[in-house]
């Protein structure tokens, strides 16, 4: 009875469901890239194309990126890292998953009936009075799904506060826990604003109550304020846990503590807090007051500091480490590169003078894909690679995982780097047809997307393969430090045979390392 809805089981449920929604979102992405091979827009009708990019955004953001790391990796690993038997509210945790599935059902309902064509941003008055698609069902789906995220956030905050093992003080926590805590703060404080915004959208669309309708004194820009008050912090919901994952991987494969632990820990909190102050930078040319634009631009610059702190500390951690050339480590270093490019172009977008030109162009598309795909999605994949032995008890193939790392990295850059150039050239986003001089760059991008797609399919195969044929991983295949590596793989019903106590700092590697066996040889040369 206790094992019914333990967080590990829920993590597996999420793992399966986010994989499905990622595949749907990915299918849409493929179709989008195919359409953009030619400038004329001859593969789909324009309204079909509009539905494609809308559903791609909705699926990827609300049903993949936001739950991916917190709900899959967090649910599995967080209680283990804390030395807890479970999260604080197991039933609420299960309710989160049900809400997620109910939300997804609404969204899938609209999807099979033809989808939505408003863009994932649902800007009024397009979404309220001009779109004839299934906006209401999708908005309802996102609304319900929002509460799933809120409940996960509540659960993690309380779990981190109240369920830590004896001796596990705040500054002994793994950095993934800090990142998850910061993420949960955002989920709890930002998501309800999206909820109420969608309620207003629903009322306006269904009952003609013109909350954002200028004809009765409403202001469409207010919708954008409310929407971005959630959706900018939501970006940090997606990226913060990933930053935590990278800290874990780097600490494990350099076998040393993270350089500047406290700075990295607090930078997560700082990113979460600053994330609430900068939403107006999505609206510099929207018609918001130029004074507000300047306030938001100045505040946006603050985010550069904690982000830079993280990157430089990771870099410094490598110094005099004992670096293992494992798949997750390759990935993590690739991640840093992509995150740096994504972050720096974000700084450009936060700069008023540049944003006027590149706002709503492919420059923005490229920027947020560097953060969302290059950052969040990849970190999720690498987190799976890192904790797969813990989750399943099996090891995957070294050769094939290295190959997929390479494919993803090359494919990703080939897909999205040309889009920066397209953006500065002036190619607007959400265009179904485009002037012919942009074609070469679009073809490059589509070619890259094909490589990227291959890079996603390969891990799917060797992960499945490992379930049956992979070598047994043992407790600690990487020789990493952390409570999750002290229990069996996969962990027993109450997570630990003997509830642990902690008497050392985070990432304190002992000599010789604590590995039970030397399985990374298997990882390297297997298959």
């Amino acid at each position: 009875m206790a094992a019914d809805h333990r967080s590990q089981g829920i993590a597996i449920l999420y793992l399966l469901s986010v994989t499905v929604f990622f595949s749907i979102g990915g299918l849409y992405a493929t179709l989008i890239r195919l359409e953009l091979l030619t400038p004329k827009g001859d593969l789909f009708q324009p309204d079909t194309y509009n539905r494609l990019f809308t559903m791609h955004g909705v699926m990827m953001i609300f049903f993949f990126l936001i739950p991916a790391v917190p709900a899959v990796i967090g649910n599995f690993i967080l209680p283990l890292m804390l030395g807890a038997k479970d999260v604080a509210f197991p039933k609420l945790n299960l309710a989160s998953w049900y809400l997620y599935m109910i939300g997804a059902t609404f969204t899938l309902y609209s999807l099979v009936h033809g989808g939505v064509d408003t863009g994932w941003t649902f800007y009024t008055p397009l979404s309220t009075t001009h779109s004839n698609t299934y906006t209401t069902a999708t908005a309802l789906g996102i609304f319900v799904n929002g509460f799933s995220g809120i409940f996960t956030g509540v659960n993690f905050i309380v779990t981190i506060h109240r369920m830590r093992a004896p001796g596990l003080t705040w500054f002994r926590l793994p950095l993934f826990v800090w990142a998850s805590y910061a993420t949960s703060l955002i989920q709890v404080l930002a998501t309800p604003v999206l909820a109420i915004t969608l309620v207003l959208l629903f009322l306006e669309r269904t009952f003609g109550i013109g909350f954002f309708n200028p004809a009765v004194g409403g202001d469409p820009i207010l919708f954008q304020h409310l929407f971005w008050f959630y959706s900018h912090p939501a970006v940090y919901i997606m990226i913060l846990p990933s930053l935590g994952v990278i800290s874990e991987i780097i600490a494990a494969f350099t076998r040393k503590p993270i350089f500047g632990y406290k700075f990295v820990a607090f930078s997560s909190i700082a990113i979460a807090v600053f994330g609430f102050l900068v939403w107006g930078h999505h609206m510099f040319v929207s018609g918001e007051s130029p004074y507000a634009a300047m306030v938001f631009s100045a505040l946006t610059m603050l985010v550069a500091v904690p982000s830079a702190v993280k990157v430089f500390n990771w870099m410094a951690t490598l110094y005099r480490g004992s670096i293992e050339y494992s798949t997750p480590m390759f990935y993590a270093l690739g991640f840093i590169g992509l995150f740096v490019i994504g972050g720096l172009t974000g700084l450009m977008l936060g700069t008023l003078g540049i944003d006027i030109h590149v706002h709503d162009t492919y420059f923005v598309v490229a920027h947020f894909h560097y953060i969302m795909v290059g950052g969040a999605l990849m970190a999720y994949l690498w987190a799976l690679h890192f904790w797969w032995p813990k989750i399943t008890g099996r090891l995957y193939s070294g050769f094939w995982s290295h190959l997929s790392a390479l494919l993803v990295f090359v494919g990703f850059n080939l897909t999205f780097f040309p889009q920066f150039i397209l953006g500065y050239l002036g190619m607007p986003r959400r265009y179904h047809a485009y002037p012919p001089e942009f074609q070469v760059l679009h073809v490059l991008s589509t070619a890259g997307a094909s490589v990227l797609a291959l890079g996603y399919i390969v891990p799917l195969i060797y992960f499945l393969w490992s379930l049956k044929y992979g070598a047994y991983a043992g407790r600690n295949p990487w020789g990493a430090v952390g409570l999750e590596w002290e229990t069996t793989s996969p962990p027993p019903v109450h997570n630990f045979e003997v509830m642990p106590t902690v008497d050392h700092e985070a990432y304190e590697h002992r000599v010789p390392p604590v590995a039970e066996q030397e399985p990374y040889r298997v990882v390297k040369y297997g298959l």
Binding site: H130, A316, Y319, I356
Partner: protein, 321 residues
């Protein structure tokens, strides 16, 4: 499609485009420098500190306050420079010169309707003279659009229910893209047009080729057609205030408070007349929302702005006092 014959950089064709580009190149240089620096360090460490023996562990180095301060303060300083420079360019790009020629733009699904000060109208094309500051006063009839000319590095959302504006001064003859940059529905990608920059004399010829009634003249007709002139009398004894010379001036409102009578104020006063009542008047004016087209409102406003502060009758009265 020729494989290597494609642009890497957009054309630079307005007075402000250079400022945007300069800022962009600065940001690009900073970004490249940091990216290369980080990549170089990672690569060197990655090679140099690779694991030699299975049992090795790294040196436990816990951090350095000095380094943390250095790599917090430097990015902060650079990003504040970006902010300051960016704000300067932003103000430059968003503040039109006082003597700019005013064009009216109405966006609707899925076309741009443009009217010149001389009254010429065009759809999805914009002919402008080179070397003249031009201000676009824009509104939308339906959803949000965005007026974007990449070669001029300008963009501004076009909203239903109010005015936004943007300005440029073209520096190159030729034809450039005009895009809608805010997603606006099914044919969003067809809401495109071209901007033709012409020599002033060619522009005059082009203007002469069209049949035109100036917005002021059209506005004057509307002013009597909608019976505005029955209340807004230049004798100042009408039930509504006289409108001459009010554009851009502040006014006291009923219930305290002040408002500057800019284009948005004038528009609001026509569409939602009772939102702001000038001190000393009654809220009697009916709304004209839904009865007058967005273009009509723009024409009315340009007529109101053309009115003299002191009408003839007014001047006579002041003299006699």
């Amino acid at each position: 499609m020729k494989l290597f014959d494609f642009p890497f950089f957009p054309e630079t064709a307005s007075t402000t485009a250079g400022s945007v580009d300069a800022l962009f190149f600065f940001a690009l240089a900073v970004s490249a420098l940091f990216s290369l620096l980080i990549a170089a360090f990672i690569f060197i460490f990655f090679v140099k500190y690779r694991r030699q023996h299975a049992g090795d562990v790294g040196h436990a180095i816990h951090g350095s306050l000095v380094l943390e301060i250095v790599w917090s303060v430097i990015p902060l300083a650079i990003s504040l420079v970006l902010f300051g420079w960016g704000a300067k360019v932003f103000l430059e790009v968003s503040t039109p010169p006082k003597d700019a020629r005013e064009y009216y733009v109405t966006g609707k699904q899925w076309m741009w309707k443009i009217q010149h000060p001389e009254g010429n109208r065009e759809i999805n094309e914009l002919h402008v003279p080179i070397g003249v500051a031009i201000k676009m006063i824009m509104t939308s009839e339906d959803v949000i659009h965005s007026f974007y000319i990449p070669a001029f590095r300008i963009k501004q959302d076009v909203l239903p229910g109010r005015y936004t504006s943007v300005w440029f001064e073209a520096t190159k003859l030729g034809t450039f893209h005009l895009f809608c940059a805010e997603y606006c529905g099914v044919e969003h990608s067809q809401m495109i047009g071209k901007v033709v920059v012409m020599a002033p004399e060619d522009y005059q010829i082009w203007l002469a080729g069209g049949v035109a009634k100036s917005p002021v003249a059209a506005g004057e007709e509307l002013f009597s057609q909608y019976a505005c002139n029955t209340c807004h009398l230049d004798s100042r004894e009408g039930r509504g205030p006289w409108l001459g010379g009010i554009a851009g001036t502040p006014v006291a409102l009923v219930g305290g408070g002040k408002a500057v009578r800019d284009d948005n104020y004038l528009r609001e006063s026509i569409m939602l007349p009772n939102n702001k009542i000038v001190d000393g008047y009654q809220p009697l004016m009916p709304t004209f929302q839904g009865q007058i087209s967005e273009e009509g409102v723009l024409q009315l406003i340009s007529y109101i702005k053309s009115l003299d502060g002191a009408g003839a009758a007014e001047r006579a009265r002041t003299d006699s006092r």
